[in-house]
């Protein structure tokens, strides 16, 4: 408080208002997304991602789910019968994590590289483009998707290479003290 000379003619200041006892100590912050609702909506694959505003990701999950059901029904039970529950559960977890990451950003907190990747990643746009190319080539008769299904183990190789690449990147980043390069 600044110190000022008191004037005897100045009337005394009214007492400051007393805060009511029921006043909250901190303001209530309404978070933009509910992780529980996002996970619940994902009971229909992709809907939770739509709720989070990740439309491309929603389509990627939906087409992965429908595609694995289609390939299972067309005689490729292994491994696509196992892919169906994997896509389904991962879709729910992704919606939950996506809503949490959005809330974290809203609150201005630091997001970890993992959370940033949850919100923004080139994988989802890339998946949509790949789905589009594959279905288009199939429609034009230049590619037989059912014959292509026998090449599914290449996906395992790609995922394995991805994990190796990421772990090397993280190791390099931890050695140099920087944040890992985000892809």
């Amino acid at each position: 408080m600044s110190s000022q000379p008191l004037d005897p003619n100045t009337p005394p200041l009214p007492p400051p208002p007393i805060a009511p006892a029921f006043a909250p100590a901190s303001p209530y912050v309404r978070l933009p997304k509910s992780p529980g609702l996002a996970a619940f909506l994902s009971l229909f694959p992709g809907l939770g991602q739509v709720y989070n505003g990740h439309i491309a990701r929603a389509f990627a999950f939906f087409f992965s789910w429908v595609g694995s059901i289609y390939l299972t029904a067309s005689g490729h039970e292994f491994p696509f019968a196992f892919v169906i529950p994997f896509v389904y559960l991962y879709n729910m977890i992704d919606a939950w994590k996506g809503a949490n990451a959005i809330n974290q950003r809203f609150l201005g907190g630091r997001t970890t590289p993992d959370q940033e990747t949850t919100v923004e990643s080139p994988i989802w746009g890339g998946l949509l483009a790949v789905f589009g190319v594959l279905i288009l080539l199939n429609n034009l008769g230049w590619l037989d998707l059912e014959r292509l299904a026998r090449w599914w183990p290449v996906l395992l190789i790609a995922v394995g290479v991805w994990f190796v690449y990421e772990s090397i990147q993280k190791k390099r980043a931890s050695e140099s003290g920087d944040e890992p390069t985000q892809l």
Binding site: G53, I102, F106, E120, G125, L128, F131, G132, V133, L136
Partner: protein
């Protein structure tokens, strides 16, 4: 809050607009007797997925480059 707030463009909106133009054009050509609408759409609809995916990647690249600069 939207992650699109600082974006140069919205991939969803752009894809929807281009698809509407394409469907409108195909429908007009169909009404003029130049093409058959349903077989054309049945064959070429995955182009919308391809376009959308490419626009998402472009949008992400633009936002990352503007974030770095």
């Amino acid at each position: 809050m939207s992650r699109r707030s600082s974006s140069a463009f919205s991939p969803e909106g752009l894809t929807l607009g281009i698809c509407l133009v394409a469907v409108g054009g195909a429908w007009t050509l169909s009404n003029l007797g130049r093409i058959e609408l349903l077989p054309t759409l049945r064959t070429w609809w995955p182009l919308s997925l391809l376009l959308w995916g490419v626009l998402e990647l472009a949008d992400l690249a633009i936002r990352r480059s503007s974030g770095r600069s």
